[in-house]
Point group: D3
Chain length 192, copies 6
Amino acid sequence: MANRYPAPALADVPEDIRARILEVQDKAGFVPNVFLALARRPDEWRAFFAYHDALMLKETGSLTKGDREMIVTATSAANQCLYCVVAHGALLRIYEKKPLVADQVAVNYRKADIAPRQRAMLDFAMKVCLRSHEVEESDFDALHAHGFDDEDIWDIAAITAFFGLSNRMASFSNMMPNPEFYLMGRVPREKK
Amino acid sequence: MANRYPAPALADVPEDIRARILEVQDKAGFVPNVFLALARRPDEWRAFFAYHDALMLKETGSLTKGDREMIVTATSAANQCLYCVVAHGALLRIYEKKPLVADQVAVNYRKADIAPRQRAMLDFAMKVCLRSHEVEESDFDALHAHGFDDEDIWDIAAITAFFGLSNRMASFSNMMPNPEFYLMGRVPREKK
Amino acid sequence: MANRYPAPALADVPEDIRARILEVQDKAGFVPNVFLALARRPDEWRAFFAYHDALMLKETGSLTKGDREMIVTATSAANQCLYCVVAHGALLRIYEKKPLVADQVAVNYRKADIAPRQRAMLDFAMKVCLRSHEVEESDFDALHAHGFDDEDIWDIAAITAFFGLSNRMASFSNMMPNPEFYLMGRVPREKK
Amino acid sequence: MANRYPAPALADVPEDIRARILEVQDKAGFVPNVFLALARRPDEWRAFFAYHDALMLKETGSLTKGDREMIVTATSAANQCLYCVVAHGALLRIYEKKPLVADQVAVNYRKADIAPRQRAMLDFAMKVCLRSHEVEESDFDALHAHGFDDEDIWDIAAITAFFGLSNRMASFSNMMPNPEFYLMGRVPREKK
Amino acid sequence: MANRYPAPALADVPEDIRARILEVQDKAGFVPNVFLALARRPDEWRAFFAYHDALMLKETGSLTKGDREMIVTATSAANQCLYCVVAHGALLRIYEKKPLVADQVAVNYRKADIAPRQRAMLDFAMKVCLRSHEVEESDFDALHAHGFDDEDIWDIAAITAFFGLSNRMASFSNMMPNPEFYLMGRVPREKK
Amino acid sequence: MANRYPAPALADVPEDIRARILEVQDKAGFVPNVFLALARRPDEWRAFFAYHDALMLKETGSLTKGDREMIVTATSAANQCLYCVVAHGALLRIYEKKPLVADQVAVNYRKADIAPRQRAMLDFAMKVCLRSHEVEESDFDALHAHGFDDEDIWDIAAITAFFGLSNRMASFSNMMPNPEFYLMGRVPREKK
């Protein structure tokens, strides 16, 4: 089982993309497959990561980095996307500093050891993921009750929507998670 | 029933975004609501439209503009996204020059008056939309048999995935289609 | 894509059926396909239209003609019946004098520009359409709260049930809506 | 748990309806509840039974009376309609002269002791019942292979569609089967 | 349609199993097929019936024998298991002394003539049967309100879970109910 | 989030159960929660583990220990059972000597790095898990083609059915996997 579409060699991707990939490699110690897999279409790559960064790296709002990865992990599990569950589950463990949380959220978030506000956040994310046409004002109320404001809610919905795109791209093209992700955040980190 | 989030005034959006919006307005005669609704977050707006353009305006591959709007209309109907069915149904009618095709594709694409290769294209798009985790090699074979190559298949999947994002954003935020869309392509165009 | 079963010529149908068909043709300017498609079996035709008329032409109760066509449009969309969505969507636009309402109701009635009592009416109709075995007393209470009495509720259920029959007949036999329906009620009517 | 709507007294129903009811009572030994329950609306009653008779009493085509009741029992079970499963299960046992067949068909028709052509017939009926929008030419082919012609297929679809209406009316209004039905056809009939 | 796996002859099963089977035969007048069908694997047989007895013959708690068979009948119907609906429906009729209740519970338990506490019991059993991952504290509250304590709730869940196992074994292996079950409890018992 | 029902102290469980628990503890280094959680009901405990052992420890047939744990992991993921996915995923990694395989099988077994015969095995297990009423002879043929005989197929079905029971018990009672399981088989084992 390997990626259905050949990934370009790093040497062959446009300069701006290569720069970002090298930066990631430098930080993570490896190149997550999504970076090369999508690079075969530079314009889509650029839009994908611009969207990703706008949602996942933004510094305003009340969603922590852990919250965001939790949304990605839960909704990607609902979409049965192997790449995203494994890769973002790793980030979730790291940001939340909880080695067990990603498996819990992926299998059944209702049983996960998370805060009540995170549970409410995931209930909403799952609704946007699975039946967005039924979202209504009472869903906003439920989140307001946990301290999320309308901008936070937009963040939850947009992260869910964006990774729904990512899930479909990864699944249709057989994108496989790098082996490194599976263990990340499960054991104490060594130097690096 | 109105958009859940206030749209910015055109005067308040960044210059690059305003330029594009004015260009669209000039061409269409009105500003489609998605352009202003998303403009409240400029970075997301830029990524969204960069992605949109990379998929919908690309000039290679065998998918016609009508094919692409047909994918959007069918999968947005499956996601029950009012904005996208109405707006892209309008474009579908125009590009295909078939005033009836959008309603057919939206209600039940199996009954639509479309070519067999378009039917195969929509079968695949619906699978990516609704159960992308089950896509497998035989799905590629079915499309190859109709003359689609692997790049075309990527296009079908990516368009489906991107508008799955768009559908969720529009539904959660109550984005309403402009009244102008409902009639476009149904009656012979007058000057404009 | 054409009707799976040949429709009889108007000249070959029984006198009473022909009279009604000519009357409809006179009023509408064309013969809706359902009238000829079902006429190949006169006894079923007579029962079908007797049932139709008992529900759709009755003059008692609080359901307006627009309400009734709205029920038909919403539930036919849930059943993905092309004929009924297009034909009754046309009537809905005309009776409600709202050119946009049929597309809204067909794609996602929760987003449609309709009255709260119509929303409650459609919630109930959809439950009868999709999971009638779960209807219970609280569903009646919800409608009473909007001023519907038990006879109105019977009307909503019966219209939903009858068009569920109609949807299945149309879909299995590939009954196609007349082209005239697609545009009806979208543009100001000319004399006729 | 009783019928949600009061049934009229036999003395209060129109003459033509009463005559039919008395005829049924004379033959069956009791009045099946559907006859009185629907009689509160005479026009609907007349259309309902005219439709019923056109489909269930017709004397042409290859469907036996047992086949027809088998379709009703299987699809009514799919719709979880208590009245129709019990009442028509009774008729199925009687016409097929098989005391066990109705329970088998109602619980899981795939396990029922029925002929291969009946299995094919039920596969199609269930498709019309549950996802009529997906019916296509290959479904007709499968039935032709078992000797059903296009008129028989219309019969299967129409019976399924009509009892889908009946199921919804019975479930929403809490119509309860007469106690007599439960045992009919299970034990050898005595005089009567 | 016969059992997919040959059942051993009674003479060939281990002594302890034969003894139990003879005891059942003595009491019921026939050997229910499940006893011989599973006896081809003695260790599984012993575990199956030990589990069965621990749940169905236990003498503590507030669940009556009728309650337990009602849970089995309702959830086995949801799983479309012919063997268990027919066999345990028979026991349900006998224990509840209600000849009609099993068919009601099997077709649509919401319409059955049962006590409100039994309705609550079945609502919970169906949730454990169909979406156990969604069970939460409010489900326990609903049962407490009807007088069930936590041990009763364990019983309901365990009976549902055990017969979910039984349903899958019976369906996959085509286990057919003995003809005797179909009539049991429907007519007054004769001596025996 | 903790187990809904208090587990007994090891000192309080019957001797035979305690002996087995101590044996497991000795081998694994900890007591898996299921052993104590179920021990509050000794008869159910004994039946549960007798069944478990009959299926999981049997020494005949072509299913390897890895195959069996793979079935458990895949079907428990379909049932969203946190305890079983985590605990049996650990065993799967160990038996298959593949640190990545459990996460793959749990998220989307179609993408897992497993043998074609294992894929066929899981396709069947998932059908037994999710729609056992639809199993038919062609499902047996598909497994025969991969070298499974009828006894192997019984094993696959029985393991699926048994863990369906286990999944429901664990989910309804909030049984949480021991932290030790999450990491087992992911990193090279140290002495122990």
